[in-house]
Symmetry: C2
Subunit: 654 residues, 2 copies
């Protein structure tokens, strides 16, 4: 059937232009979600602020500094198994952990200077090692972020419960409630600057340093008592003899103090110029503060004889012993610690979606993760993190002790890969001819003198973190590390399966070697009809506008209905042939598909088949429940038929 | 664009015929479900067997006879509140219930003769009263079936737990497990004849009569002791004084013995000719057996001093007292009672889907309920009943005592409406001129002498059952009857809303006053494109085969992507105009819908708009997770746009 050309009526002003740009006609879309997460933000609003060292410390240190809330406690939990006498090893372990902290910090200092564009483990591994190592690092980091969120809210809930013991029975829901609040804040989009981070971080630093200081003053003056009314002690797997293995386990728990140390290296671009310099100094400050607080708190815990417990955290015990009561100063310490833990959780919500977006853009995660939502944040990644972290908190009943064994493997694995990547990079740089420049995605390579020292530093860092990774995996294997040992490679395999799909699809759809389609030869139109009414006649009318080669198909289940339909067809069928197929098993879709398949089998190149499906659109959504959704299922089944086009002609009730 | 007529290649043998019937080409559809519920049955297999009186009794009596398992116990539960002294009222209450049983039976005898085609309360009310009364009766019966299923499996589970007390903690799951087994059996289609029903029913009758007989013999010989180790007594709402209200409540519980008495009147067609005669005699036998067993068991329970309990049923107490131990005879009684309760549950699965199908065919329930599934049974109705009954069993923790107050209102309401309908019918018959015949859907009306007596019998039945309905609703109101008093009218209103929808739709789609559509004037085709690849070019090719008035629309989120697309379009766009719409909020569907709406607003009669959507069909279902389902959402949103046709052009990967 010939379509008439437009006869003078200009339906829209684009006519005649080959390409026309149109501005959007209206404001931001309205939705119930706006009330919840705020009105949509246009793409042009993306922030480009940079910060100085003091604000930068507040922005990035939450994750690292919050470690003092759980690392000493988890060391004590392990040692408790061998009796309180073993608590004496806490401080030596803390010294070993602090040395490791220094090594890792110096290693990362080099990364910060080499990657002024931001050098997370994923990017360093991708640029210097290879796809597999990069994806392993990426998955390790994603797991790390999930566990950071789970551990930090669980620890925050534990602090709250220490101050308000009546909340103990609902501790899990306190943790999940905190997670949901942080999730919503991140869906709205947290401005990564200003008072939101500065005030709580420096509040935490002030109160914690004050507590440590007063503690030491009272200790030196000899009037720091032991903790009164200690809570019931908590042990992992009951009493055990003191062994080297137990010591290694305690050390492994202590190494969780290092989590978050890499944050600044990811976020170098957030600093004012000279940004590598500023970022580097901030990181050294952060490490120094962390080291001092960690050692100080651990030492004081030994003095007051704090015990690890699920009902009161050691920080709470320390605070009430130092200040002598549960007054305002006590509450400030607990509040400061809780807030810094919430900021640490927030770090996970900042890091996970960005990393997932980079991996998605590289084609290793579902592409949807790379699109920004209405508030310019990666909403899907944020929701995914919130869902998985909530599940973990629920499954592990918000127990930091239960979650810790799953955690630090991912952290140290990504440290190791990052350091190996850096070492590899120095090796490459050392073997470049002078004046040659190699540009990579994340940084520029040119010869540098002194590369040997840097190679040794990163190489030593790699060896240390690799050893810790193995120690952690072995020492904590039975306590939960096995879960990560199983899951991490599985996820890496899944990521490569996703990558293969995208690659194959791109190849299949590529226009290279694309030939013009064969000229159109015959256009068959099939029209399933169950009854003759205005809706089916509208579809028939449309079908006839496509081709004069139309076949109506009726699947007959009821003899009476079929005779009525045949009668009506004589009157209304406009001379079009009607094929009636008996369906003895009272199914509709299967006989129709069989018929369509028969036609599909004899298709010639250039033949087209269009299936025109009348589709009722009811006035109320619930009316859909009163009708078999045949058109929906037909579409679902027919989409897999090669060369068939499905057209739905809607007819509205009313 | 002109479609070429078929050029000599006959694609299928239907060409040239206006109407052509085709037999199905293959056998029954295969599916994983076949393993579960059996292979599909062709429509021609519908059974047309009839049965005699003995088998008929087995087929229909399960529901009624199983009442002896719970009616005496529930009477005792109510009386227990006033102390065990009140148990003396059990037997007088049983006599009153038996008198009511006789009245209702004689009333229904008349229905059986008047409706040889089957006269359930719904049909009698529909034919003789009106739409509202019919739907009230229908809803009352549907609720009745749901509660029958819930009560009978709960009571069956209670019997099993009495014999095997270790199952007490999982009683709810025993009940739900039984429900699921009966559900599956009904999805397969239970042949309503043969040993499946006869053997268990007569096993139950034999063992129960034997127990009652031996019980009386031992009583007369003076060696029937009281029950040893009675279980802990159960009371409703703690101790209460003995009042008339309590007596009415106990009577109301006793009336549950009448449930199921109407079954035979529904199933007259299942009997051999003369079917009304055979069905009538079977019903009288059933009532007599029920009356004798009910009175006998109630009397013996009083003698042995049985107490109502959630841990051991009174039937179990009676059986072990009569037989003196928990031996084989004891187990036979409990097993027989359990099996008859399972058969009663099965009655609900036979009745509910059939009644729902009749109501659906009348347009008061979703039409899908009127279609038979692959095994020739109304699968959707069966599944609906199973789901709602399971939910009830779970919510009421399989407690018969908790479920009973919800039950008998529906039963007696349908009895009442049925009797009123019959009385009305006799009145009409009495006022017909001789020789005049009126055919109704369910029966034929012609003058009968003696109509006055019949009117009085049914009228008296109606008054009695109406009084019981009110007594039940008032006495049990606070115990749960209020739920039914609220829900029943709500469901009736919903049914009329459904009916209104179907009527309005039929009117909207009617071909009366249907004019030919205006001649086709202009066919605009819109083609959303996100990128240029083989898939989108296939869609472009198809779009050009529909009309030469094609507009490609690109929603631009990313500036870079848009420039690439515009470049490629110059090469591959076949001169078709491309409209680019900026989407500052990174949404796709909203700006496109806005554009479509603008076009829709200026449509002239006879203008068509087709939206051609390229749709990726991946090789593996899980690949769908890796792509935004834009086409799906677009279809969903566009279907509501008046006058737009949606065409999906699938492109396959690989």
């Amino acid at each position: 059937m010939m379509e008439q050309p437009p006869v003078g009526d200009i339906l829209d002003p684009d006519e005649g232009f080959l390409t026309q740009n149109r501005a959007p006609r209206s404001g931001p879309p309205r939705s119930w979600r706006n009330w919840f997460i705020g009105r949509p933000l246009p793409s042009a609003d993306a922030p480009h602020q940079t910060v100085g060292k003091a604000v930068g410390l507040a922005l990035f240190a939450g994750d690292a500094l919050s470690s003092v809330a759980y690392a000493p406690q988890e060391t004590l939990v392990v040692l408790a198994a061998a009796g309180t006498a073993a608590f004496g090893f806490t401080f030596p372990i803390a010294i070993a952990v602090t040395i490791l902290l220094a090594i890792v910090s110096i290693s990362y200092l080099q990364t910060i200077h080499a990657y002024p564009g931001g050098g997370g483990a994923y990017i360093v591994a991708r640029d210097n090692l290879g796809e597999i190592q990069a994806q392993v690092a990426g998955v390790a980091l994603l797991i790390d972020y999930v566990l950071l969120a789970a551990v930090a809210v669980s620890s925050a809930a534990a602090q709250i419960v220490s101050a308000y013991p009546s909340l103990l029975p609902i501790r899990v829901w306190v943790a999940i409630g905190l997670l949901i609040l942080i999730l919503i804040a991140n869906l709205r989009g947290v401005k990564e600057a200003g008072a939101v981070f500065v005030v709580p971080t420096y509040f935490f630093l002030t109160t914690t340093f004050l507590a440590v200081l007063i503690g030491f003053v009272r200790y030196v003056m000899g009037n720091l008592s032991v903790v009164t009314n200690p809570p019931p002690i908590e042990m992992l797997h009951g009493a055990q003899p003191f062994t080297l293995f137990l010591l290694l386990k305690a050390f492994a728990s202590g190494t969780t103090a290092l989590t978050g140390i890499e944050c600044i290296s990811n976020g170098v671009t957030a600093f004012k110029e000279p940004r590598s310099h500023n970022a580097g100094i901030t990181m050294l400050w952060m490490s120094a503060i962390l080291g001092i607080l960690y050692l100080g708190i651990t030492y004081l815990l030994g003095i007051i004889g704090a015990v690890p417990s699920e009902t009161e955290t050691v920080i709470s015990q320390l605070a009430r012993t130092i200040f002598g009561n549960r007054g305002i100063l006590y509450l400030s310490i607990v509040a400061g610690t809780t807030i810094i833990l919430v900021l640490a959780t927030n770090t996970a919500f900042a890091g996970f979606p960005r990393l997932a977006a980079i991996q998605a853009a590289d084609g290793f995660l579902p592409r949807q993760l790379a699109y920004r939502g209405s508030r310019l944040v990666y909403s899907r990644g944020i929701i995914a993190l919130g869902a998985v972290a909530s599940l973990l908190v629920f499954l592990f009943q918000a127990s930091v002790t239960a979650l810790i064994p799953l955690w630090a493997i991912g952290v140290f694995l990504s440290f190791t890969l990052s350091q190996i990547g850096m070492a590899r990079r120095w090796w490459k740089i050392g073997h470049l001819a002078k004046g040659v420049e190699i540009r990579e995605q994340g940084s520029t390579l040119r010869y540098e003198s002194g590369w040997q020292t840097k190679l040794i530093i990163n190489g030593f860092g790699a060896v240390c973190t690799a050893v810790v990774t193995v120690v952690f995996a072995v020492a904590k294997f039975r306590d939960g590390a096995w879960i990560i040992v199983l899951i991490l490679p599985t996820i890496v395999l899944a990521l490569f399966a996703i990558h293969r799909h995208y690659q194959e699809l791109a190849r299949d759809l590529s226009l290279e070697k694309y030939g013009e389609p064969p000229p159109s030869r015959r256009h068959r139109v099939l029209l399933p009809v169950s009854g003759i009414h205005r809706g089916s006649l509208k579809a028939l009318d449309y079908a006839l506008s496509l081709s004069d080669d139309v076949t109506a198909v009726h699947i007959s289940i009821d003899q009476q209905q079929r005779l009525e339909l045949e009668e009506k067809w004589k009157l209304w069928g406009r001379g079009i042939r009607l094929v009636v197929i008996e369906s003895p098993y009272r199914t509709f879709i299967e006989p129709f598909l069989e018929y369509v398949n028969e036609i599909g089998d004899v298709l010639q190149p250039g033949d087209r088949v269009t299936i025109v499906v009348p589709q009722l659109v009811p006035k109320q959504w619930w009316h859909n429940l009163l009708h078999t959704q045949t058109a929906f299922w037909l579409r679902f089944m027919l989409l897999n038929q090669r060369g068939m086009v499905i057209t739905e002609v809607p007819y509205q009730a009313g």
